[in-house]
Amino acid sequence: MKVSELYRGKAKIVWATEDPERVVMEFTEAATAFDGAKRGVIGGKGRCNATMSAILFRYLEGEGIPTHLVEQVAENELLCRRLRIVPLEVVVRNRAAGGISRRLGIAEGTPLARPVLEFSYKSDALGDPMVNDDHALALGLATPRELAQMREMALATNALLRRFLGVRGLELIDFKLEFGRDAAGQLVLGDEISPDTCRLWDIGTGEKLDKDRFRRDLGGVEEAYEEVLRRVQADARAAAGEPVLFDGVVKVTLKEGVLDPQGRTITGALHSLGYRGVEEVRVGKLIEVRLRAADHAEARRQLGEMGQRLLANPVLEDFAFTVEPHGSPTARADPAAAPGTEAGAAGADEAGPQAEAGAGTER
């Protein structure tokens, strides 16, 4: 996948791939602040930021904002469309904090009457100076159309992220976006969206859950990143206290030792087709259950109960199941193939009281 290093930034490494139109963004644990004057390591940051970015890009994409994400290929790596980055950072602010407080003397946390959008010229040598539209146009950094598009997409992204993060107990104070042009010359949202590039405060307590903990030595830096990831990963309904949709797959099999006339007939048919190696065939049932439950544990408990009370007949049958949040990549897969049920984990973990009774669901 990764062929050669294209660019090593302060927080990410950009890799070329076999496909000239795609790059792998590797998220590292390196942290810098104040234009590199302060350096450190935040454990787990690569995983947190890559995963959070992937979730948010996928969400935005679903809401009609084009992003560079193709897929998350490792816990700290995103496969992305290669962009020619517009050398402008786009900042959107909902409350005063950081630069705007300093420049304009507004107390941190002061709500802004309307979202404020700022452009900065991406230049470490100059310290990323703020520029206006005329600067950007005069320097040829973007076309008027692109400026308008970036403004529109940034404000739409702000509205979407505020809602998405809001139901998860996170207030979006401000954030920075980068845009780039894809192979067709279209503007696409790039880079990352993470606690490195967003200010996020807990809605209840106002506690800072972003890179300011590192900048200002507030402690609990790694915990804050993990907490943000945890909340972003939580289903929105769960965050809002509503039941969440889960996909369960229940596999019902005949108990060991119960004669299976269907299996025997199929064995014979396979033999006559020339599959001499077939020793035994046993026929079971696969039942897909979509259900709403308060959380994963509750969904698991209910499915175990369903298996016991209705889906399987304990005299003849065993059952095992998997259950995943609806839409997650492993949901609706074969329970035997899904992670977490291999090697008898289903029997121990998820086969419900039957397993406890020693019915042995692993095959």
Binding site: G257, P261, T265, L310, V315
Partner: protein, 233 residues
């Protein structure tokens, strides 16, 4: 004396049972609806054959959660007589009122044919008028009638003499050739430990009148009446 015939969505032997019981015994017969949550005044409840709930998931698996089933369980716990025929037998197994479960027939075909069953126990309320060892000719009609119990549990059921009828030859030999579906021990009918609940795969209501070619089925219904008379009803 009152019989109740329970009607589930998909029951299709309810009318036959209703007719045959009345004709064979002269007793009052009433239908009981699967949604009924209050049933009273019955002396015997019959769960007839059919395809309750289309046999979806497993035969009897859905019917067993019908509202009426709670009443039937209570009725049985109080010693009331409950007879499950074919699908009715499967429902009673699913409900845990009778032991075992039915696999698909060994032949993987629906078997609709006359069978001979040997009466193993003539002290039950349902076989009182039979001789022990008597062979009855009663037809079966099912796909899932292949009686199964794990070996240890089967031994217990056998030990308590709960197998009431076995498929046999017309001469009463219990041999594999007489087994139409692969049932363990040629089992055709079992009772609960207390003896007041019986399940049988053969359809006695289909062999209860001369015009049907055989009247052996009457013995089952008349035994119930005889038993109830003896117990003072």
């Amino acid at each position: 004396m009152r019989f109740g015939v329970v009607v589930f969505p998909g029951s299709n032997c309810d009318a036959d049972c209703y007719h045959a019981i009345g004709a064979a015994t002269g007793a009052r017969v009433e239908y009981v609806w699967h949604r009924d949550t209050k049933i009273s005044g019955f002396d015997c409840l019959v769960l007839p054959g059919g395809f309750s709930y289309g046999d979806y998931l497993r035969t009897g698996a859905i019917a067993r959660f019908s509202p009426v089933m709670r009443e039937i369980a209570r009725f049985a716990a109080d010693g009331g007589l409950v007879l499950g025929i074919c699908n009715g037998f499967q429902i009673l197994q699913e409900a845990g009122l009778l032991p075992g479960a039915m696999r698909k027939n060994e032949s993987l075909t629906f078997r609709c044919q006359w069978t001979w069953v040997r009466v193993e126990d003539n002290r039950t309320p349902f076989t009182l008028l039979c001789e022990k060892g008597q062979v009855l000719r009663i037809p079966i009609a099912h796909y899932e009638g292949n009686f199964y119990l794990p070996p240890e549990e089967l031994a217990e059921v056998e030990g308590r003499g709960q197998v009431v009828m076995r498929y046999s030859t017309p001469a009463g030999e219990v041999v594999p050739e007489a087994n139409p579906n692969g049932s363990l021990g040629n089992t055709a009918a079992v009772r609960n430990a207390a003896g007041n609940v019986l399940g049988m795969m053969p359809h006695p209501e289909r062999a209860a009148e001369g015009v049907l070619g055989c009247e052996d089925g009457r013995l089952i219904f008349r035994s119930v009446v005889e038993y109830l008379r003896g117990s003072g009803r």
